[in-house]
């Protein structure tokens, strides 16, 4: 079942992106180059093939199979005329007439939107068949499609070549994935480490004024969107020059021959603001969640037994309540882990960190599909992995769940 989830989880997203590829390719960065170069580039990138194994549309009923092999201007003209006339035979015939004719600048005729005008020009009699347009049809494209080639490449361990830089996608990703992963895992651990003391404080001194003030503060923190928080942090700490806000290492320090340890120490101040931005809202959510978990343990019998044995509430909380209450926390953490990837988009872009989120945003602006797809693939892989981990950890930690399943 889990393998199923993993495979399907991966298959979905590239397909969704592939659909976008069709819409995006019109506005891609090849617009300025001449038609011939554009055609070649498309062919090299494999963008001239059909997207998926089958097409489901109302136009495809009347669309010839090898339309994709035509040059772009002819393809567009034939598609448009097919759509307007309702049958592709007339559109193809018009195309042939134009190509055979000896008009000097005949390529201009492909720009004509109304097929009737072209037909008049050649004295061609059109036969309308418009109702074809309203019939949905399933069209089999064969194995020679973009998705299939992407899948075959993936099987061989190739993620393709980036359009923007010309490097293999795996090279582009190598430097970027680790930072996002480390920030995600580190941020999660950090927020738990901060949230547990706050939750215990709430549990023990819930009615004190300090607890109420912290509670209100956390309530407001939950509501602040992360992009607002990021700019607020930059305005408060980075603009006056208290903390660095951009990059991962001082360019000056980078040139000096530092040892590994010195390098890590030099990086730390650069990570302070991003880690605050990563953790502020999860601290707020988690501390309240742990607090409710602790409260739910109060109704258990062992709590009453412990009290009647003469243990203080403090002792009970630290020794017994906490270990029992934290069991559901693992599942929640593992389920929330994929959110680190979407959170990283804003944070890495704003703090100029070389991570996957920033890479994703730049490749979106370049329409760099292989990189985008690889990013989504990695995210899907890690989210499936963390869902699996969520099940597994809670089963490992709590034998009751194992016995329930068996």
């Amino acid at each position: 079942m889990l393998a199923f989830i993993v495979i399907y989880g991966m298959n979905d997203d590239p397909f969704a992106n592939m659909v976008d590829e069709l819409g995006g390719s019109g506005s891609s960065n090849y617009n300025n180059s001449s038609t011939q170069i554009k055609e070649n580039l498309y062919r090299i990138a494999g963008l001239d093939k059909p997207v998926f194994y089958f097409t489901f549309s109302r136009l495809s009923a009347a669309k010839p199979r090898d339309l994709a092999k035509l040059p772009a201007n002819e393809r567009k003209a034939v598609e448009n005329w097919t759509y307007r006339l309702g049958n592709y035979r007339d559109a193809l015939a018009l195309k042939q007439l134009i190509l055979k004719s000896d008009i000097p600048d005949r390529q201009i005729l492909f720009e004509v939107i109304e097929p009737e005008l072209v037909a008049q020009n050649f004295n061609y009699k059109l036969s309308y068949f418009r109702y074809q347009n309203f019939i949905p049809n399933l069209y089999w494209n064969g194995l020679d499609n973009q998705y299939h080639s992407w899948l075959i490449n993936l099987k061989q361990g190739k993620l393709g070549t980036s359009f923007a830089s010309g490097l293999p996608v795996s090279t582009v990703l190598q430097g970027n994935v680790w930072l996002t992963l480390i920030m995600g895992i580190g941020g999660t651990i950090l927020s738990v480490l901060i949230a547990i003391p706050i939750a215990i404080f709430f549990f023990l001194h819930g009615n004190s004024i300090v607890a109420k003030i912290i509670d209100t503060l956390l309530q407001i923190l939950v509501v602040i969107p992360s992009f607002t928080m990021v700019i607020l942090l930059i305005m408060l700490f980075a603009v006056p020059g208290y903390l660095p806000s951009s990059g991962l290492l001082d360019p000056l320090a980078d040139s000096i021959n530092y040892s590994m340890f010195d390098r890590v120490v030099a990086t730390l101040p650069f990570l302070i603001l991003p880690s605050i931005a990563y953790t502020y809202d999860s601290i707020a959510v988690l501390s309240r969640f742990i607090n409710t978990l602790l409260h739910s343990q109060r109704e258990q019998k062992y709590y009453v037994v412990g009290l009647s044995k003469g243990l203080s509430i403090k002792e009970l909380t630290y020794t017994h309540l906490l270990s029992n209450a934290l069991l559901p926390l693992f599942a929640v953490l593992a389920r929330n882990f994929p959110l680190a990837f979407s959170g990283s988009i804003v944070i890495e872009t704003m703090f100029n960190l070389p991570g996957m989120g920033r890479l994703l945003l730049t490749s979106i602006s370049f329409n760099d599909y292989p990189v985008i797809m690889a990013c989504v693939l990695i995210t899907a892989f890690f989210s499936c992995f963390s869902y699996w981990l969520a099940n597994d950890i809670s089963e490992y930690a709590d034998p009751r769940l194992r016995s329930q399943k068996a």
Partner: protein
């Protein structure tokens, strides 16, 4: 039970009403001769660049291009609330329909084999027509029309046929399983494998359009999962109560039971879901217009005003004014949602 403090609820409803009125009458508030004498996209390069708030008739300051922020806030409220409301509405409708369908599956579990031949009969004309189209059979217009109508109705036939064939191949039984439940949960797994915001950023970034309808549809197609799951769980919980058993023993059909008797019980849950989707949509929209400020058309939204402040960190009002609006709006929505969830909790104590 202690009496609850009503003050936060009243305050948040007032704030909400304020923003809704602002959004509704954004056309009447901005422009020459109105309360805010500027439109949000008006450029004043000479006289009013980077003005601070409260020092001129640009009440909340201006941007680097001299655009009035107060006008931008008002139209941004319109934009945010429209997107939030409609995407929450569409999400809720999708969620209710799919939730009911997936909870019905235990009842509509098997399709009778008698449907097999009707399915075949229905699917033959479609097959004929589509092959006819592909080989290019030409005919008179009237005939085409009837053929088209026939085949359009028969598309359902071929779908049923495919379902039947698949079921009989897999199960090898006389009756064929027809489970919405599994197909919907498969769809949920597919969409759940990557975070919503990531997919949204990719889609909107590649489309690069600030078109309000595109945004609404994209957001609602990506956020129905939670609502569907919640409604399915709730309906299954309600079906275990004795009133559902009693209704079934009276001979009521299960779909009727769900629509007539269970859905009214769920209305606090539905409203909470509506509000949370509303919040999610507003946050996603402003995150998008923050990330792609300037690329998503000429719309002035709260997110795009905040997005300007990343280039001009000295202009604090660019951040503070729209952020305050955003935080106030979300906070008040949260408070209203909390009110409803308390209500639902009280209600659940009495249902048996």
């Amino acid at each position: 039970m202690s009496k609850r403090n009503k003050l936060p609820l009243i305050l948040s409803i007032t704030t909400l009403g304020f923003f809704v009125l602002m959004g509704l009458f954004s056309g009447l508030l901005t422009g020459r001769g109105h309360l805010i004498p500027y439109t949000p996209t008006e450029i004043h390069l000479n006289d009013a660049v980077r003005l601070k708030p409260f020092i001129s008739d640009h009440y909340l300051g201006t941007t680097i291009l001299g655009r009035d922020i107060a006008a931008g806030i008002v139209t941004g409220a319109n934009y945010s609330l429209t997107i939030g409301f409609f995407s929450a509405l569409i999400t809720l409708i999708i969620g209710i329909v799919l939730g009911i369908m997936s909870s019905l599956s235990w009842r509509v579990n098997y399709i009778n084999r008698r449907l097999f031949w009707p399915a075949v009969v229905l699917s033959i004309p479609y097959a004929v027509v589509s092959t006819g189209l592909n080989t290019g059979v030409y005919a008179d217009n009237l005939l085409d029309f009837t053929l088209a109508i026939l085949s359009a109705t028969c598309i359902f036939g071929i779908l049923i046929f495919l379902f039947l064939m698949l079921g009989s191949v897999i199960g090898g039984k006389k009756t064929i399983p027809f489970k919405f439940n599994t197909s919907i949960s498969l769809l949920i797994i597919l969409l759940d494998s990557a975070p919503k915001l990531l997919l949204l950023v990719i889609f909107i970034g590649l489309l690069a359009s600030g078109n309000i309808i595109t945004l609404i549809i994209t957001i609602s197609l990506l956020s129905w999962i939670g609502v569907t799951r919640m409604i399915r769980v709730e309906i299954e919980r309600q079906l275990k109560f004795s009133y559902a058993d009693a209704a079934v023993s009276y001979g009521i059909s299960v779909p009727r039971l769900i629509v007539k008797h269970i859905l009214p019980h769920l209305y606090p849950t539905l409203i909470i879901n509506f509000i949370y989707t509303f919040i999610g949509a507003i946050v996603s929209e402003s995150t998008l217009s923050f990330l792609f400020a300037g690329q998503m058309g000429d719309n002035v939204t709260w997110g795009s005003i905040i997005g300007l402040s990343k280039d001009y960190p000295d202009d604090w009002w660019l951040l503070v004014v729209p952020s305050t609006c955003l935080v106030l709006l979300i906070l008040s929505l949260f408070t209203v949602a909390k009110h409803f969830s308390d209500k639902a909790q009280i209600q659940n104590q009495y249902i048996k």
